[in-house]
Symmetry: C2
Subunit: 140 residues, 2 copies
DNA sequence: TATTGTTATACTCTATAACTATA
DNA sequence: TATAGTTATAGAGTATAACAATA
């Protein structure tokens, strides 16, 4: 039976997100990482020394939820924390974290290419602009 | 600070979905409905007498998770179940369910229009095809 | 044998409130 | 006063396994 909600962009957006997320998590399973882990590692790699709160703001993860998130990755030896003042801590990848991230990058690369590949070639340049517009609105 | 993941379609897809979902749930809050409730009511309205399992297959909700989902809406008087054979039950909207859905439809309409509105006009015809392609791949 | 509805359960993700120590 | 990190907790949402009744 055809899904009668297929003409609602909001609904299709959600289904597309859920389906592709599940696929990505499956691809990352050999590394024992989830999609959110990789996003976080990518962010730390690009902004070494970033604080936990700032990372949470960028990734839209609440301060409270960052705590177990960070400490799990720290326990696995993928990142470390160094106090920068009495409150903040600077997050940096360890060598193991960088090695892990390099592997994750390859998986992400294949995954993102596969995503683009299912879109007809003519429309590919519109994918990112459209998704950004849906996310953040017309400006920005 | 700019989000350094903004060039990854998969990541932006997830953020766009999460942001718009949260917005839709907020718009639906006065009706005490969640986005999944409305999708379900829309489906029953278009396929009256559909079974619980079949609805779950279409909406990608597991049989086991349909149980509390359906019974909550039934307790609120929005739908009813009638046995069609010893196993299956036909789902149908009640009068109250149709009234509620009519209100939800107006909210959905405004929401979907607002979604399209944040996309530059030239790209709007591509929104649904691109999202469908990301969801289900090139064929279909 | 396969399917429907069901129960029980667990895990992830997300949300809120409150506390502490620092700035 | 505002912020960073933390604790505790609760609520969605989602996943699996197993069972009884029925097809």
């Amino acid at each position: 039976m055809k899904d009668p909600l297929d003409n609602l962009p909001g609904y299709v957006l959600r289904r597309a997100s859920a389906a592709t997320l599940a696929e990505l998590n499956q691809r990352l399973e050999p590394l024992k990482l989830r999609h959110a882990d990789v996003a976080f590692l990518l962010l730390i790699d690009e902004e070494p020394g970033i604080s936990q709160s700032e990372a949470g703001r960028i990734l839209d993860i609440q301060r409270a939820n960052m705590v177990p998130f960070v400490s799990r990755l720290e326990k696995r030896g993928l990142l470390d924390r160094t106090k920068v003042d009495g409150r903040s801590q600077a997050l940096r990848l360890t060598a193991a974290g960088r090695t892990k991230l390099a592997k994750a990058r390859r998986i992400i690369g294949v995954f993102e290419a596969s995503l683009m590949n299912r879109v007809p070639e003519k429309m590919r340049p519109m994918v990112l602009p459209i998704l950004m517009a849906l996310w953040k609105g017309p400006e920005s």
